[in-house]
Symmetry: C2
Subunit: 200 residues, 2 copies
């Protein structure tokens, strides 16, 4: 009916419909949580016909992924700061999420879908891994525990984001960033500079 990439759909009706459905999902997630949202809920709130919904999305998960692209676009705006500082994405990311709280909470918060957090974790893990590899002096082989270290860092950051998005943690982006760095940076520094003193 239309290609996978419907960016700038020629038809205004299509854009209107898709936007309404995506917005309805975000609203409903914040109201009752992702799991509890039904397709019937979506078409009622978006005020579109049932057949119209299925003309655009296969199921509610596809709406989720569609909304996810919005977030991904935000992340693409985060400058790929290679300023020598470890985990430099932290502060800008917190700032961006702060500006888009509503969306961030719906997608990353407790009431959001587990699959979103899982995907976010994977993306972030790749970034962290690359940073650590780059920061590692080349004469030192990457430790066998690299995956574990990356998991620790990613897990800590994701947990911070989730609780912050949910309002369980009240802090400014700068404070979030400071706490995150205070916990993980000393450990990472030690790991990156140690010459295999402790076998991992």
């Amino acid at each position: 009916m239309f290609g996978n990439r419907e960016r700038e759909s020629p038809d205004r009706r299509v854009r209107r419909t898709r936007r309404a459905i995506r917005q309805a999902l975000v609203d409903l997630i914040l109201i009752k949580g992702y799991e509890a949202v039904t397709v019937t809920d979506l078409i009622n709130r978006a005020d579109v016909g049932r057949s119209t919904f299925y003309a655009h999305f296969a199921d509610k998960e596809e709406v989720l992924f569609s909304s996810l692209d919005e977030l991904a676009e935000l992340l693409r705006l985060v400058p790929a700061t290679r300023s020598g500082t470890l985990l430099s994405f932290s502060l800008p990311l917190f700032q961006h999420l702060h500006e888009q709280r509503r969306l961030a909470r719906a997608l990353l918060g407790r009431r959001g879908a587990a699959v979103v957090r899982l995907r976010g974790e994977q993306i972030m893990a790749a970034v962290v891994r690359d940073e650590l590899m780059a920061a590692l002096p080349s004469e030192i082989p990457p430790p066998a525990s690299l995956d574990m270290i990356v998991t620790c860092v990613t897990g800590a950051f994701m947990a911070l984001m989730r609780r912050w998005a949910d309002g369980e943690l009240v802090a400014t982006p700068a404070e979030m960033d400071a706490a995150f760095r205070a916990v993980v940076i000393p450990g990472l520094d030690a790991i990156l500079t140690t010459r295999r003193s402790h076998p991992m």
Copy 2:
């Protein structure tokens, strides 16, 4: 029909039935993931009548919580080592999960239920928080960022457990513990000994 505490049920049929259903849930989670498991699946695999199921559990989530008690029992076996070492629960917990891999994977792994991980995170957060408070010199007031620090530590540990349970990380309990400590202990030490040099 019977009280909440059916420990040591007098009737063998009750124990048999409940055990079969709980086991069926664990099996099915490992096969198709928690979300995809239906009550119909459970009664087929456990080979019990539909009405029998609902005589024991309100829904599949209640079966999950019932199985959760098994895990909680395991955790209660983890010695509350107050040996002065920070986060001393780490190694024994990894060891216990290693011995009960199958159950741990079903409950903590990616295919498990998000609510289980959430609950585990809360329990662990309370433990970590207490440890940090105890380790904090009394003349130093708890930092405002204590919640964030606890979240980091807990998030890191939970992420390690999940990926390990899923087989995405291959390591011995000792190696898991070492990686975890290598990342978070230096940061915690610095935070616990610093006299408010950086305002948090």
